[in-house]
């Protein structure tokens, strides 16, 4: 998936209902109530946090490009796609951002340092500058290598075989895999910068970055099946057990112990609106979420009915028809599964 295809895919889902900067927050993985709940409303799970370090100026440039190519039309408030964009095919993607949450970087960092070490040691070079200099990763990789008897040439061969076979299975293009390999370093072949990789494929830096994430997601799906034990170990801590953000988890615990919304806000010294965001997140993730203390059954039905009938998820539009509901109640009702 190319970067502008990613934008169009997201924009199609939220067309005329969200602002032009909302896809940016989603791609960066912003943990705000709005972004999290939109993922549920619009089914944007694959795209969450796929590029956590995306810079706004680059995003803006691509958006400008969409206008210039007639895919977007001017609208002061919301995203407004042209027919050209709306009828375009959304390519299939292997992205699974909601599951990996940007943690593919952890996997890649470990992999980079392991490959670099094997590359040097197997060619009898014992001193080199590590390509990853975070202490945490270095310690992890050291422990991993110690377990795998890494000075033995057979260890390198075994690792390489499992890497090759598992990546072979990943359902992405050869180019995807090449780009990922270009990010790895070894003796005499340093890793390449995004610019350099982009130039070698005639693509943009953003495109090759997205390709890399897509490859990693596809590949990690294969590795998770546990048929390649030497790589399965690299998955340690990559997938978060709970789908909730950490802060929402804390709110969930307090709620389970019987505290009310305003009490939780007081206890945690957070704004009420933040705690509200957490409940929306809880409702989104937990099919058995008990909303009775926030929302009557009638009000819930009324909100859902309006949303369906008007085909909208814009809070303001719904509020107009159901004025007795608060914005929080509307958001909650829309989030409930």
């Amino acid at each position: 998936m190319l970067f502008d295809e990613l934008l169009i895919a997201i924009m199609k889902a939220v067309n005329r209902e969200r602002t032009i900067s909302s896809p940016f927050h989603l791609i960066k993985g912003k943990k705000s109530g709005q972004t999290i709940q939109d993922i549920g409303y619009y089914g944007l799970y694959p795209y969450f946090a796929v590029m956590p370090r995306l810079e706004k100026r680059f995003y803006d440039q691509v958006v400008e490009g969409l206008f210039a190519r007639g895919l977007l039309q001017k609208n002061e408030d919301v995203i407004d796609l042209t027919d050209l964009a709306l009828t375009s095919q959304t390519p299939k993607t292997q992205l699974d951002g909601w599951k990996y949450r940007g943690n593919e970087q952890l996997f890649l960092n470990r992999l980079s340092l392991i490959v670099q070490t094997f590359s040097h040691i197997s060619q009898k070079v014992n001193v080199f500058d590590p390509v990853v200099n975070t202490e945490e990763i270095q310690l992890w990789v050291k422990a991993y290598l110690r377990k795998s008897n890494f000075r033995d040439r057979a260890a390198t061969a075994a690792f390489k075989t499992q890497l090759m076979d598992s990546l072979e299975e990943a359902p992405v293009t050869e180019r995807h895999k090449m780009i990922l390999m270009q990010r790895l370093s070894g003796l005499g072949s340093s890793g390449l910068t995004w610019e350099q990789i982009a130039a070698s494929h005639g693509m943009t830096p953003l495109d090759v970055q997205l390709f890399t994430v897509e490859t990693l997601h596809a590949w990690m799906q294969i590795i998770e099946q546990n048929r390649y034990p030497l790589l399965s170990m690299l998955m340690e801590g990559v997938i978060q057990q709970s789908a909730l953000t950490e802060s929402a988890q804390r709110t969930e615990k307090l709620f389970a112990r019987g505290f009310a919304l305003h009490q939780i806000a007081e206890l945690r010294q957070l704004k009420t609106s933040t705690i509200e965001d957490h409940f929306v997140e809880l409702a989104m993730n937990d099919p058995y979420f008990d909303y009775s203390s926030f929302l009557s059954e009638e009000l819930y039905q009324a909100i859902v009915a309006v949303s369906r009938k008007q085909q909208t998820k814009r809070l303001r539009d719904i509020k107009e028809k159901v004025p007795e509901a608060s914005y929080f109640q509307i958001r909650l009702a829309l989030a409930i599964r």
Binding site: D129, E135, K160, G188, W194, E195
Partner: protein, 475 residues
């Protein structure tokens, strides 16, 4: 003789580099020392070896995170295991472990902002510190080209640690800066070791052009003829990127480097350059620290640097192998304009100062909103805690004057008829004793010592991902 033995048994070097022995001996005598050693002369050995003889830990204050990481990596590469780095990126669980065993570390690296945190202070008071090292000590001086306000905080911790013995290290310092180091670190009668600034194997060249177009034309031709590796310093990130593109398009192996790049990308460029996969790096002044390449043959300044100190540090990255290296400064009519804006860019503006003083509670928001630059905020915040608005405005005005003076010195460097080597030495209050044969453009340069570029065979680029994997992990 004993010291040499220790040097050999610990690090495998059979002799000291110039200056190291003098400094180490004074440190071991218990004296405070200020050592001015040019870059690439193995400054860190000055505390590394004493650390093996002193009873307590050596505390190294390092002004830049990237520099700290690099030093830790270098020490580990030399086989030192008892090393810890304390900076704001530490995780809580790691911190606990470090605090409980802090006194056991031989080398403790710390950033200035961590140094003054109450909890950290307490921990440091608890252990025995034999030597406090102020690395890149010129950063303490507000007159220096690289002033970091946070660095002044070392002064605050000195009494708490009972005025430990101090070793201040720097590559470039005028006597004005040396005096400030003495003052802030509270060391009255230090032993000062000054290594001659002058590097005999560096040849200074200046090229003048009518306009920018002529300049870029010359650069392309030059790098096409001359054998690298080399660094081209540009004034801005954008210029660095553009120059790299120009060189790449003329078929050279070049890339850019600046502080705005992805962290991993920066490491890749450094390693490519280090491994000889890249001949030219076009960069801002962010490139250099932590680059350990002995055979850089050329340093070209595409734009005027903002101070002679900065210039000397940058050209000092060339020719560390002792062989001839060429420093070329390019100047075109009108470059002063850019120089002026670059110089002013380094300082907070009056508007920024007023904004920060008006928004005492949440100055970070001003950075987020793009009203105040982050670098400016750091400087203002420091003075804000000490001075009223008028005082800070005055302070910055003084700094501005100083910066303009420094810029004038650079301007003079491109216009003088006399020896450039001599001029640079004078800027550091040093007396040049003798000049090498190949000295500078005004004394005449023998270019024949610099090798012509040999067109290398084009490196085979792996065609598929499996080929690339085979190159990384050959069977």
């Amino acid at each position: 003789m004993e010291l040499e033995k220790l040097l050999y048994s610990t690090y495998g070097f059979s002799s000291f580099r110039p200056g190291q022995r003098e400094v180490i001996e004074e440190v071991l005598k218990g004296n405070n020392v200020i050592a001015l050693l040019p870059t690439g002369m193995g400054k860190s050995m000055c505390y590394q070896l004493p650390a093996h003889l002193l009873p307590g830990s050596v505390l190294i204050v390092s002004p830049l995170l990237s520099l700290m990481q690099d030093q830790v990596a270098q020490l580990k590469k030399m086989g030192e295991k008892s090393v810890v780095a304390i900076n704001s990126f530490l995780k809580p669980e790691d911190k606990e472990k470090i605090w409980s065993t802090l006194g056991n570390y031989r080398f403790i690296f710390i950033s200035p902002e961590m140094l003054v945190q109450p909890f950290v202070k307490k921990q440091l008071q608890r252990i025995s510190i034999s030597l406090l090292v102020a690395d890149e000590a010129h950063c303490i001086s507000q007159w220096g080209f690289d002033f970091r306000p946070d660095y002044l905080r070392i002064a605050e911790i000195m009494p708490l640690l009972n005025y430990p013995q101090v070793l201040a290290l720097t590559a470039t310092a005028t006597s004005k800066v040396t005096n400030e180091i003495k003052k802030y670190l509270n060391i009255s009668n230090p032993f000062i070791y000054t290594h001659p600034m002058d590097r005999k194997n560096l040849v200074y060249d200046v090229k003048r052009f009518e306009d920018q177009k002529e300049k870029i034309g010359w650069l392309k031709k030059f790098v096409d003829h001359c054998e690298g590796p080399g660094i081209v310093y540009a004034g801005t990130r954008k210029k660095a990127e553009q120059l790299a593109l120009d060189l790449t398009n003329s078929g050279l192996s070049a890339s850019f480097y600046h502080g705005g790049m992805d962290h991993q990308d920066r490491i890749f460029v450094q390693q490519q350059f280090q491994n000889g996969e890249l001949d030219w790096v076009c960069s801002t002044n962010a490139f250099g620290m932590g680059v350990h390449i002995p055979n850089i043959r050329h340093v070209i300044h595409f734009q005027l640097p903002t101070s002679v100190e900065g210039y000397v540090q940058e050209v000092g990255r060339a020719g560390r192998d002792g062989k001839a290296a060429l420093a070329t400064l390019l100047y075109a009519e009108g470059d002063e304009g850019l120089l002026e804006s670059l110089v002013m860019d380094e300082l907070p503006t009056v508007r920024e100062i007023r904004e920060v003083y008006a928004n005492r509670t949440e100055p970070e928001r001003l950075v987020e909103q793009g009203i105040v630059r982050e670098t400016a905020l750091r400087v203002i915040a420091y003075w804000q805690s000490r001075l009223p608005l008028e005082g800070t405005l005055l302070q910055i005005e003084e700094l501005q004057k100083e910066k303009i003076k420094q810029a004038e010195k650079i301007r003079k460097l491109v216009t003088i008829d006399g020896c450039i080597r001599q001029y640079i030495s004078e800027c550091f209050d040093q007396h040049l004793l003798d000049k090498p044969e190949n000295c500078c453009v005004n004394d005449g340069i023998d270019y024949s010592v610099f090798k012509k570029r040999v067109k290398k065979a084009v490196k085979v680029v792996p065609a598929s991902w499996k080929d690339r994997l085979d190159a990384l992990l050959p069977s």
